[in-house]
Symmetry: C2
Subunit: 272 residues, 2 copies
């Protein structure tokens, strides 16, 4: 298998460059990419050090490393670009055509895409995070009037990380409620949920996967048995269908995908 060393170089966090890099490289499943993130490369000295490493590696392996960069500072970018590497410039590639289209020069200031915009935005995010923490795992169901969404599902289907992600990423007020075995004896909604039917969003999961997850922490417990997992998943889905609760299968989805899907399907308004 071909191996390629890949650097993600940014003058800020590098999170954007990293995400796009992963997305692009996932299109080459037969190459083993060794990805190193180099964030906060914001001075000429740091850039020079990076180039030294690049050049050394290229010489040693006789192959140019790949570089994905978002560098706003022209001097820093020029230094990196002169290194012995294959350079993909996520910033420069698009900023030129954008300048032409908008008929404006760009500010060339270091990106504030992840920056704090104002106190209102900050507070919205914090309130959402606090709400998710307070209403995790069926706690404080009397706060559901303030919820944008109440995520429900069997234990270990992914409710807690989904709600934390919704709150952090989008400022959405997301509570979560575990459907326990007694809840699942009928398809009727639990009492705490019934008044908030329109806010419910169900998670489901492949029973075998659920069993694997539960086994990791509770091996030997009946809760982690194949029967329990199959029963709970089937009953939860029956409850969703009986009450027209939209739901999503989390088995092959990451927390980001589940969160984005719920936001989209439930037409939730982002607050940040």
């Amino acid at each position: 298998m071909q191996t390629r060393t890949t650097y993600v170089i940014s003058d800020r966090t590098g999170l954007t460059a990293e995400a796009l890099c992963h997305s692009l490289l996932s299109q080459f499943p037969n190459v083993q990419f060794d990805i190193e993130n180099l964030p906060f490369i914001d001075t000429i000295e740091k850039a020079q050090d990076v180039v030294k490493s690049l050049n050394k590696l290229a010489e040693k392996t006789n192959e140019k490393p790949l570089v994905f960069a978002t560098l706003v500072n022209d001097e820093v970018r020029k230094i990196i670009r002169d290194g012995n590497a294959v350079f993909f410039d996520l910033f420069d590639t698009f900023i030129d055509p954008l300048e032409k289209e908008l008929n404006l020069e760009s500010s060339h200031s270091v990106g504030r895409s992840h920056g704090v915009h104002d106190l209102a935005q900050y507070s919205a995010r914090m309130s959402a995070v606090n709400f998710a923490m307070t209403t995790d795992d069926g706690m404080e169901t009397d706060h559901y009037a303030r919820a944008d969404v109440v995520v429900i599902g069997a234990s270990r289907a992914g409710k807690t990380p989904t709600c934390l992600y919704l709150s952090l990423q989008f400022g959405v007020f997301a509570a979560n409620y575990p459907l326990t075995a007694p809840d699942l004896e009928s398809t009727e909604l639990p009492k705490a949920l019934a008044p908030h039917k329109d806010k419910l969003f169900g998670l489901t999961i492949d029973p075998y996967r659920l069993q694997q997850i539960r086994k990791e922490r509770f091996a030997g417990d009946s809760y982690a048995s194949p029967d329990a997992c199959q029963f709970e998943v089937a009953q939860a889905e029956a409850m969703y269908r009986a009450n027209n609760v939209p739901y999503v299968n989390t088995t092959k989805k990451s927390v980001e995908e589940i969160g984005a899907y719920i936001l989209h399907k439930a037409s939730l308004r982002r607050k940040i």
Copy 2:
């Protein structure tokens, strides 16, 4: 001020395209961008609907909207590309030169960059999230032996969202401990923290900003007074310096930036 309608179109979550779009557009502070996210555009029918909207808007405003797209499916991309818009293709722009460089064809399968890779990764993430929840706000300090980092700071400096972000994004075990007024009477580390000195990372914040944040929820409380905020921030910083605890000022940073900074400065190993 120039206004431009901007669409972010993706066949998956659109999170990557959205992040790069925001990063690029932040370089044009004098343009008002109305950004709409259109995720999960994964069928020809959906693509045709999008193009209809684009074309209608272009005709109505007499100006082409901007489109940032990550579309892997060739047919879907072709439909969108034929719409009356200025098209920035985050995927296609880089996939061609990558194919040439790697001397391979890309798989052209819909990106799994945010996908669940395997159970081990999933479990690592869940464990980290559980750890952050369990050890939030000074709870369960006896778990600090398992922590990768213990984030400390005055109340409302941003500890909780930072730790949740570190756990979700990087799978890092991040606990947090609030430095309360009694802790801040001296520069000595609180008892629970002293044995874990090497894992500590401090947050500080502009006292005026801290006061604004506290006032939002606790107006009138002495805790939200200018004096209390100034005292707590000054004492916390003195404690960090006296004990060589690295720290970061969160005032102008987003949770993403704080998290990426701590990961970098504390040389934490990501687990996902």
